[in-house]
């Protein structure tokens, strides 16, 4: 029951929380897991003779940093108590779950970037200009077609001819 009350939205839209912030606890767990893995990695670094290493082994400095990160991360679940006193709401940007359109955008960006070596740079740009405005709800098809037809060509010409950037032509061999 207490637990239910502790996560009930308060009047200012923020959530009343207990001593430990559950989201930040998860963030801390992720950071500590990462730190643990990287610390293990540092134990695999080659060792060199103390004379050559000037008594500072290659692993020492990264290990020191990992300790600092882990130490700081341990305060994260309790930080909201201090921030609340300052009138700051750490949950403002994460109060709602990731927007569906953001998830769709991430998926599209990952797909288009992974496909870019095959599509080539020009086709990749045209795809972005055609698909992204539609994904984001832009309805004027004529503007989208003009945008997708003109913008990538102008950008390609400027970068390949003026700035001498080499553009991969992909498996279709399309380039300017």
């Amino acid at each position: 029951m207490d637990n239910q009350n502790s996560t009930a939205p308060s009047t200012d839209g923020s959530r009343a929380l207990g001593l430990v912030h559950p989201v930040d606890l998860a963030v801390t767990a992720i950071i500590l897991a990462g730190v643990a893995y990287l610390f293990y990695e540092t134990t695999q670094f080659d060792e060199v003779s103390p004379l050559f290493a000037q008594n500072i082994q290659p692993a020492m400095y990264p290990q020191l940093l990992l300790w600092i990160i882990a130490g700081l991360a341990c305060f994260l679940p309790f930080e909201h108590l201090l921030l609340a006193k300052k009138g700051k709401n750490i949950d403002k940007d994460r109060a709602e779950s990731v927007h569906p359109l953001t998830k769709i955008t991430i998926t599209f960006l990952v797909v288009v970037v992974l496909a870019s070596p095959y599509l080539g740079m020009l086709l990749t740009m045209i795809t972005i200009c055609l698909v992204m405005p539609r994904l984001w709800g832009y309805k004027n098809l004529v503007t989208i077609l003009l945008f997708a037809g003109i913008f990538p060509v102008v950008v390609s010409l400027v970068f390949s001819k003026v700035l001498s950037v080499y553009f991969d032509s992909g498996i279709f061999g399309i380039t300017l």
């Binding site: 290659p58 994260l76 972005i128 992204m132 990538p152």
Partner: protein, 491 residues
């Protein structure tokens, strides 16, 4: 004096002037478009400037940096949405003035105070940088180590959601700087068998990912936010009587802004907020603040532009970035083979004065751009986000790809963007991470060299009064949030 003349003469070449003007235009445009920021534009521009000579490349970035801060005020005034964070305080009085039918006057006040603040800070820059560099010549590795630790501790007070998260971001940035082959021993660290990581993390794709991609993903959830736009037909410069009344406010805010800019990790946003508060505190018409009073516009605008100039002092004289944007300029300097710090000033002073000249040119160009382009820039705010952000993504992909014509860098950019988005969502800033990444190598090198000098006796570092001074500042800086919290609770 010879160096100043030589530096300025290096700029007076038609292609350099074109590039600096382009930097100013891009900066104002980027600053004026909500969501786009100068660090993002500098990150996107970096790979393309590598092909340029160092002076026009860095001058273009410096001009863009100054212009981006100014450009943010346009949208703050016309649509009540600061184009860049430093313009957040400008909206408080700029938008009400525009709303009551005086958008041209609001833009004029913002422009004149921005130009004044920028020029005053550049005068301080030209006076302070050589002095600071002369002092810094006394610095040895232990002093550099202490200075870099102090700069990292300043991340705690950097603008953002929390000091703790800024420090974690900064530490992660420092850790990222350890990736690659260790210079002293030749041992591979965190390379995971990937040869591309032997030389360390490539700056460009990471910077583009963090600043451009992260923001793109954030913008995807705000597409339906409606804004009321006010069209400005022309800019109206303040009269001489008005300027006389505002003179003290401009000078005070410029001083505040320059000082805050010089402090490592303190940026234009903090300067603008303090500039606004101080303008209100000294004003005879305190009650009019928030309703469209001229002091409420010139206070933050003079402060944020002077902070932009001030931030260049530690960046160039000490190699310690004063803000996220200057951290990117520092990265570009390193990519062009320069070693920022006192050596830069003593060995190539003309280079420093060329950058100073470019920033001066940029500040004067604001006036021309404001007068001639007010209408255009007010129209720019009408570009739909659905077309703007795909264009930004294309520049991000090309920017990451062109740095080494490799799709691997595009993947790195994408991963950095995704990490940046989730970091931002949980309150971890990208700017502290970048500053950590830039300062990381310096911290480790200086620490290793110090240990060699003092035969691995860490306490011997304290023999240097400069080291003691910076460590004391670091301790004060890190304990301040807890100390003030304790005092408040007691009160």
């Amino acid at each position: 004096m010879d160096a100043i003349i030589e530096g300025f003469s290096l700029l007076i070449q038609i292609e350099n002037i074109i590039l600096i003007t382009l930097g100013v235009l891009i900066g104002v445009l980027v600053g004026a478009l909500p969501g786009l920021s100068s660090p993002m534009a500098i990150a996107l521009l970096t790979p393309f400037t590598i092909q340029l000579e160092p002076i026009p490349a860095i001058a273009m970035m410096a001009a863009l940096y100054c212009a981006g801060t100014f450009g943010g005020s346009i949208t703050a005034i016309l649509i009540n949405a600061p184009g860049a964070p430093p313009a957040v305080a400008t909206a408080l009085d700029g938008y009400p003035m525009a709303k009551r039918g005086e958008p041209g006057r609001a833009l004029g006040l913002a422009t004149v105070s921005s130009v004044s603040g920028g020029i005053i800070s550049l005068i301080v820059f030209i006076v302070a940088a050589p002095t600071l560099a002369a002092v810094a010549l006394q610095f040895r590795p232990p002093e550099y180590f202490a200075l870099a630790v102090f700069a990292l501790s300043m991340l705690a007070s950097m603008t953002g959601k929390s000091s703790l998260r800024n420090l974690i971001s900064g530490a992660v940035g420092v850790l990222l700087a350890t990736v690659g082959i260790h210079l002293t021993t030749g041992v591979e660290r965190f390379t995971f068998g990937i040869p591309d990581l032997d030389e360390g993390i490539h700056f460009v794709p990471v910077l583009i990912g963090l600043f451009a991609m992260g923001e793109l993903l954030s913008q995807s959830s705000t597409l339906n936010n409606a804004v009321e736009r006010i069209e400005a037909k022309a800019m109206k410069l303040p009269t001489s009587t008005e300027l006389k009344e505002l003179k003290n406010c401009i000078l005070r805010s410029s001083g505040i802004g320059t000082f805050i800019g010089i402090l490592p990790a303190e940026g234009s946003t903090v300067a603008a907020i303090i500039g606004y508060n101080e303008a209100k505190r000294f004003s005879k018409k305190k009650d009019e603040f928030g309703t469209g009073t001229p002091e409420g516009i010139v206070g933050p605008e003079a402060a944020n532009n002077s902070a932009a100039g001030g931030a260049m002092v530690p960046t160039l004289a000490l190699g310690i970035p004063g803000s996220g944007s200057t951290a990117l300029i520092l990265a570009a300097l390193i990519m062009h083979g320069f070693r920022p710090g006192p050596y830069l000033l003593n060995e190539t002073p003309e280079f420093l004065y060329a950058i100073f000249g470019a920033m001066l040119f940029a500040n004067i160009a604001f006036l021309a751009i404001g007068l001639a382009g007010a209408k255009f820039f007010s129209l720019v705010t009408f570009i739909p986000k659905q077309l703007l952000w795909p264009a930004v993504f294309i520049f991000a992909v090309i920017g990451a790809y062109s740095s080494s014509s490799s799709f691997v860098d595009v993947y790195v950019m994408l991963v950095a963007g995704l990490i940046g988005y989730f970091m931002n969502r949980h309150g971890f800033g990208a700017a502290p991470l970048v500053m950590g990444l830039i300062l990381g190598k310096m911290v480790e090198e200086a620490f290793s060299q110090s240990m060699i000098i003092y035969d691995n006796n860490f306490l011997a570092l304290m023999e240097s009064p400069i080291v003691l001074f910076f460590f004391a500042l670091t301790a004060v800086n890190l304990s301040t949030p807890f100390w003030t919290g304790f005092r408040k609770r007691k009160a």
